[in-house]
């Protein structure tokens, strides 16, 4: 049940948009496809929706081969980044569209359509705006209309292509929490595409991180964040400091500081890359075990955390700390301090986005 994608491949003039991609979405699950532009996430979504055809592979939606069905039997709800509402129709008519175009035999009665549309508009909290034209709505309201319109045909799956991509940061945050609550309420198997890692981690049951036409890792937000499968995933899911290091005798050297290796793949290599999240880079006044000395270059205390930029003469380090910690350290620009990673990942490959 749910959506089953088996080894999809799609090439656009030499460019491999999807390279043997398989994905399993359980019934009622909300999965995010996360990746940079050009990673193939939108292509994957469009193929699942039947908007594009793959070169090879198959898609089963609730056990049925999706390519054997025509668009109206496929019953896929699709929401576009730019809403794609019917400009010439009112909000009500937009939502009613999928019901009105049904064949006479299947079409519900006028009263039924009316009740159904109003019920959906209530669900997306726009029931008092049913007479407006899309041009009279804000971006967030339009996207909710688009969602109601997609839900009107009682789709088996719901696909959302960067649904909040065209909205302001604040509206975006409100709307994604709202989407999470809505999904908890209606439990429809859903996939949404995003390039915003915060959005994916906050909203989705599971996140599929994509790059270069492949799924790099799929797992719960916790898993992908704390147990990244590779350097790309770690790098993409948050800001990161990265440094090249030597590998010798089963240890990696961060400057002169030896670090334990945690992954097998690095063993036997001569070079590796250390990844440290800014909030896991500790700054201290006193020299501790495994610490490096560095100079404070820049301080930015505007915002929920304080950002400090440091250098050891060769590398630039970005550190983040709470205001309390910053006040107790009493850091000034130009001061010499000691830095040590509380936690780091070492990967063999070097990945920059």
């Amino acid at each position: 049940m749910g959506i089953k994608v088996n080894s999809l491949t799609k090439t656009f003039n030499q460019f491999k948009a999807l390279d043997n991609v398989s994905l399993d979405v359980k019934d009622g699950e909300l999965v995010a496809l996360l990746g940079p532009s050009g990673s193939g996430k939108t292509t994957l979504l469009r193929i699942i929706g039947g908007i594009e055809t793959p070169d090879a592979g198959e898609i089963l939606i609730h056990g049925q081969d999706s390519f054997q069905l025509n668009a109206s039997d496929r019953r896929v709800g699709f929401v576009f980044q730019h809403y794609a509402l019917f400009k010439n129709m009112s909000v009500f008519e937009n939502v009613a569209f999928g019901l009105r175009v049904k064949t006479k035999k299947e079409r519900p009665s006028k009263v039924h359509i009316r009740d159904k549309v109003m019920e959906l508009l209530k669900l997306v909290q726009l029931d008092n705006m049913h007479n407006r034209l899309p041009s009279e709505l804000s971006g967030g309201q339009r996207q909710r209309v688009a969602l109601a319109r997609a839900l009107a045909i009682e789709p088996k799956v719901l696909l959302l292509d960067e649904p909040f991509g065209a909205l302001d940061a604040k509206v975006r945050r409100d709307l994604r929490q709202w989407l999470r609550r809505l999904h908890d309420e209606i439990h429809i198997t859903s996939i949404f595409v995003t390039h915003d890692q915060e959005e994916a981690l906050e909203v989705a049951d599971r996140v599929a991180v994509m790059n270069e036409g492949r799924i790099q890792q799929i797992g719960t937000p916790d898993e992908v964040y704390h147990k990244p499968a590779n350097a790309f995933v770690y790098n993409f899911l948050g800001s990161v400091n990265l440094f090249h290091c030597r590998v010798e005798g089963g240890k990696a050297f961060f400057g002169d500081v030896p670090l334990e290796l945690e992954s097998k793949e690095v063993e036997g290599k001569k070079d590796a890359t250390i990844y440290i999240r800014p909030h896991l880079l500790e700054i201290d006044r006193k020299m501790g075990k495994g610490a490096l000395s560095a100079k404070v270059v820049h301080i930015n205390a505007a915002g929920p955390v304080v950002r400090v930029e440091l250098t050891d003469g060769k590398n630039i380090f970005n550190a983040e700390m709470m205001h309390e910690r910053f006040r107790s350290l009493d850091l000034k620009k130009g001061e010499e301090v000691y830095i040590s990673p509380k936690e780091r990942k070492i990967f063999a490959e070097d990945y920059s986005i």
Binding site: A71, F86, S135, R142
Partner: protein
Amino acid sequence: MAQVVLNVLTSRKYHKTAIRQESPFVRNILMAVVFIFLGLFLLMPVAVILFTAFQKGLGEYWHAITMPDTLAAIRLTLITAAVAVPLNLVFGIAASWAIAKFEFRGRKILTTFIDLPFSVSPVISGLIYILLFGAQGTFGPWLAEHDIKIIFAVPGIILATIFVTFPFIAKELIPLMESQGKDEEISAIMLGANGWQTFFRVTLPNIKWGLLYGVILCNARAMGEFGAVSVVSGHIRGLTNTVPLHVEILYNEYNFTAAFAVASLLMVLAFVTLGIKQFIEWRLQRQLTGENNGN
């Protein structure tokens, strides 16, 4: 014309606050040049047409435009437009739909071919049909055998008109449809609509003003076309004369009053076209700003 005056008026208003880029002297000279030019090349001919048409009084004017030959010419012009415009409407929508909404081989070539009638002299357009369907033409003998008359008959006139007015609607619709993208159509299909439902409920309402604009221009050209039609018509009075051809014949017979009276009919057509065009432009503008509000 009215547009130009309006622009001059509004620009004068803005110049009070805007930084002046040209001295008033230069500006006045430029404006004078524009008005003199307009007067000489647009207003004067119009005045001459009206003056000559009514020179011998209203009765003579009325007589000129109700002569059987004139009425026949008007009828033929209306028939030609009534056939050519709908055909080009269907073709224009089909071509722009295909070009704007689908990717296929030969898309670029099709776009270029649509422009062809614009880049060929109308006389040559007419000549093509003579070479194809004329007595000495490729299909001439065959047509003669089956007693089908195309050249020097109504079908030839209609064919030449269709050719000349071919690009008007497609040229208007292609950029409009391309700018609107195809997300709305995809949405409609995914919501279960079939092709016709998608076209009539989603695409057509979105292009209606652009379409009307193209139809108006197409119609104006279809009724006013001279060159191509002249070549294939044969100038048979009362049978294969359209209004523009009829004006020429009357003029060549030194029947100036009648020639200008009939010409004034084409002038009225031009003004009506301009009026409708202005209105549609205003609606199109409104539609576009409506779409951009908040996108």
